[in-house]
Each structure stands twice: as C-alpha cells, then as structure tokens.
C-alpha cells in the first residue's frame, strides 16, 4: 500500500460515527453539564467548541469544549474573570471530579463505580468583551496575563478553512500518541502555518514537511492567534522546552519512516470487528504463560 493510501486508511480508522458509543456518551454528558450550568447560571450562554466543531476529531482523543460565557455586564457568577472561573468550578465540583487546566475545567467522574473516568469534556468559563457577542475574555490561571481575548467562531473557522484538516488530524494523532505537551490549538495554528504553501502536496509530503520543519528549526517558530493577532502572546505555550520536545519527536519519527516505514509511526492498519477483537483479546490473555497477579494498594 502506498503511503497516501495507508494514511487515508489511518484517518478512516480514526473516524467516530455519530452513532458510536463514544459520541453517544459524550452527548449524554454534554446534556447533563449544560443542564447543570443553565440551572445554576440561568443567563449563561452555552456554546460548543473543540475538535468536533473544528472537524479535527480523532478516535484516540475526542473532546468537546463547552463554553460557558456570560454577558459583558453580567456579574451573577462573579465580578472578575477569576471569580467566574471559580464559581463555575464550584458548581461543577458538586457533581464532577474537576481538573483545573489553564483556562478550562476538565470533567472526570466522581461516581464511586467509575471514579476518575474522563468525560472528554472541557468547560471554559468566560465573559463577552462587549454586546457584539463575538470576542470573549477567558481567565488564565498561569502565565503572565490573567486574561486572554479569544473568539470561538474565529478559531473554528480558521481551522475549518485551513485546507489541511487531514494533516491536522494525523499530526494530532501523532502528538496524542506520544503525549507531547503542547496545547492543541497552538499546535493546530503551527501546522496551518507550516503547511501554508504546501496545500497541494500529498498527505505524506505534508506530514514529512511539518516534521522536517520541527526537526530543523533551532528556535521555536512564532504563531499568531487569529482571534487576537498581536495581542495574545503564544510564545509561552510554544517555548524552547516544548519546541525541543516536538523537535526530538519529529526527528525520531522521520528516522522511523526512513528505516522502517510509515507503519512504525501509526501502526499496522488492519481493521478488526468488535466481536473479533474480543475473541482475539481472550486468545491473547489465554496465551500469557505466567500472568502477573494484579493487586490494589490502599490509597
């Protein structure tokens, strides 16, 4: 199979159909979270973002961003952005195990039977800048600035219209599988920038180009937030340490392709039905000669 056909098959395996268990569960949790936020903050406006909205969803890492935005003059959740972030966090914490991120609140299960399970939902509290309901300020609990100006529609459109969605999805998969620590949106901006002149190229050529750029540039490349060009300083997100991590992973990936081919990057691409998969898992377990005995220490 040539590399582009292989990559297309990888992309295909990363699709999540609307009727998939994962997306059904996501919709159920979304409805619960939205109802909770509406109940506690009647005037809050709920919007959806994340990979599904942008068209960059992959099976290995599917997320939904729920924006909980307040009008510019609404102080019901607090006067400052920090207050709003805190109020929304407190409300969510009654029902969920909340993991605070830089601007978002990640939701995990608090239920004793599913404790710690990820709901794949980030709630992002914020406040509209003015009556136009476009730009929004969100709180940042780390970094120099406490607030960040953003615009959901601009972000979604910027990625959707990039013309390189397939490359973004495959590079996201590469990033996720290697647990590379770079904010997804900044990574998408970087990929879009690096592929600006490479849109007609094949998918394999696009990916190789991005990895070559990551490998060869000694200094982090700068990216601009389309929602606030010149305003939001993303250099802290794409700092030297992050760049070095990306660069090293890119070097290793290019070497792997050179020596062993694309399968070393995204794995063998053989479809296994759910039924077959369970049978094969059982066979794999039966083939373990001396399995280790799991235990559980008291927490």
């Amino acid at each position: 199979m040539d590399s582009d056909k292989y990559l297309a098959a990888v992309l295909d395996s990363q699709n999540l159909p609307e009727e998939s268990v994962e997306l059904e569960q996501l919709r159920t949790h979304r409805a619960e979270v939205e109802a909770l936020l509406k109940r506690e903050f009647g005037k809050a406006r709920i919007r959806y973002g994340g990979s599904k909205a942008k068209g960059t969803l992959i099976r290995d890492a599917y997320d939904l961003d729920i924006m909980c935005y307040f009008d510019h003059d609404d102080t019901t959740a607090g006067k400052t952005l920090k207050d709003i972030y805190g109020s929304v966090q407190a409300v969510l914490a009654k029902h969920y195990n909340v993991q605070p991120k830089t601007s978002a609140l990640r939701l995990r299960s608090k239920d004793t039977s599913t404790l710690g399970q990820d709901f794949h939902i980030d709630v992002v509290p914020g406040r509209y800048v003015d009556e136009s309901d476009g730009d929004c300020f969100i709180y940042q609990n780390s970094g120099e600035k406490e607030r960040l100006k953003t615009n959901l529609d601009v972000h979604i459109q910027h990625v959707k219209d990039s013309g390189v969605l397939d490359a973004i999805r495959l590079l996201k998969l590469w990033k996720v599988r290697r647990s590379l620590r770079i904010k997804q949106f900044v990574f998408e901006l970087l990929v879009i920038k690096l592929l600006k002149e490479k849109k007609p190229a094949s998918l394999a050529a696009q990916l190789k180009h991005v990895w070559q750029e990551l490998r060869d540039a000694t200094e982090p490349q700068s990216v601009e937030d389309p929602a606030n060009p010149g305003g939001n300083d993303l250099s802290k997100v794409l700092d030297a340490a992050t760049w070095s991590e990306l660069s090293s992973a890119a070097r290793s990936t290019l070497n792997s392709i050179e020596l062993l081919g694309w399968e070393q990057v995204y794995g063998p691409n053989v479809k296994v039905s759910a039924e077959d998969r369970t049978g094969k898992l059982r066979a794999a377990a039966a083939a373990v000669v001396t399995p280790t005995k799991a235990w559980c220490r008291n927490a």
């Binding site: 990820d118 794995g267 063998p268 280790t292 799991a294």
Partner: protein, 221 residues
C-alpha cells in the same frame, strides 16, 4: 542520598530509549523533576494486530531497579476502583511490588512493559468488553500482600510471615534465635536451612520493603 540511576549513568537513558523504541515506538522517555517517565500510547498487540491502545505514564523510580516502576493510565479510560486494580489516586497496581523485585528480569523496563503492564491493560480491555478479569489476582490491600509474601515464604500465617520478613531483613541470622515458624524452638534446631535458602532468594532490601509495606497498608486498611 543515592544518585538517581539516570544521573549516575546517563548512557542508561539512551539505552532505555533504544530498548523501548522498537516494540513501543509511541512511548517517549521524559525526564521530569529528576524522575524518568515513559509516556505515550501503549498498544496491546497480538499476532501482529493492534487490538487496543492505552495512554500510559510509567515512572521509573530513582532507585530503580531496587524499586518498582509505577504505572498510570492517563487517558481517563480505566476507573480508579479496586476491582480494576487502580487505587483512588489513579495509581495502577499491576503486581505486588516485592513479587516483581524477586523476578530475575526486574532490572529490565522492557520486561516490566511486556509483563505486568501488558497483562494489566489486556485485562482492562476484556473487562471493558464485559468479561471478568482474565487472570488470577491478589486480594486488595494488606490481605493481598500476605498472599504474595506467604507464597514466597511458604506459609499463610500473617504473624509467621512478619517474623520471617524480620529475620530476612537482617544482615546476619543467628542460630540461637527463636525460629520464625512459631514453634518456640531455636532456629538452629528448626527451620534454619529453610531460612538460609530464603536468604539466598530474598535480598534484605526486599524483605525490608515488604515489612515497610505491611506497616503502611496495615495502617491504612
């Protein structure tokens, strides 16, 4: 204080990267706060097919291989519950640590990945699919420790297990000491040979760790 293994011999880091890269190309070696982690996607492969994947973090302690790596499933798939062998802090317990420390392959991270980590995640996939845990397992908490240590020592009596571990954690054992079996006889007239054999099998640091763990889990139980 002991120098972390990766600082004492930096070439070991490169060797670890090389060892892991082939079978687990998505696992990256990350040094964070002086600790070495393997982080990324772990595939469950069987007959050349990737049947499942988990995002994991394996922390290789600074006193490795005298201590066991810790495993976390970081993708949020496996709940932090006892019957999935994950404690309330999200730390997986794929094996009683001292059982692994007695394994001749304990100093190979790759063997830890191929053994305890793979078995643990393979079992998680089957449980997710509705099957029971496919392997036998240890009871939770201190009872599981007694099971494991008892099998190693050849006894099931908790008091006896503790006494054996106390003797095995000492550098020298004297024949006039009371036998740990609880008979009241002197060791030289009772189980001295067995204790000597166990001494060959169980290093003092492992016995000390086992005693320490019994103390910790006993308090928390």
């Amino acid at each position: 204080m002991r120098i972390p293994w990766h600082r004492a011999n930096p070439s070991l880091l490169a060797r670890l990267e090389n060892d892991v890269r082939g079978p687990y190309p998505d696992l990256r070696v990350v040094v964070e706060n002086e600790c070495v982690h393997l982080r990324g996607s772990f595939p469950i492969v069987s007959d050349g097919l990737t049947l499942d994947r988990y995002q994991i973090d394996v922390c290789i302690p600074n006193d490795f291989p005298d201590a066991v790596p810790t495993l976390r499933e970081i993708g949020g798939r496996v709940p932090w519950v006892l019957n999935r062998h994950v404690n309330g802090k999200g730390e997986a317990c794929p094996v009683v640590p001292e059982e692994w420390l007695l394994n001749p392959k304990r100093d190979s991270v790759l063997c830890f990945l191929n053994g305890p980590v793979r078995d643990f995640l393979l079992a998680q996939s089957l449980v997710e699919a509705g099957d029971p845990w496919p392997f036998s397992w240890r009871a939770h908490g201190i009872d599981g420790l007694y099971q494991a240590y008892g099998e190693i020592l050849g006894t099931t009596d908790p008091a006896c297990i503790r006494r054996y571990l106390q003797y095995l954690s000492k550098e020298r054992i004297k024949g006039h000491w009371e036998c740990p079996c609880g008979s009241g006889n002197k060791l030289r007239n009772c189980h001295l040979n067995e204790v000597r054999t166990l001494q060959m099998k169980i290093p003092t640091n492992v016995a000390k760790r086992a005693l320490q763990r019994l103390g910790q889990d006993g308090q928390q139980a």
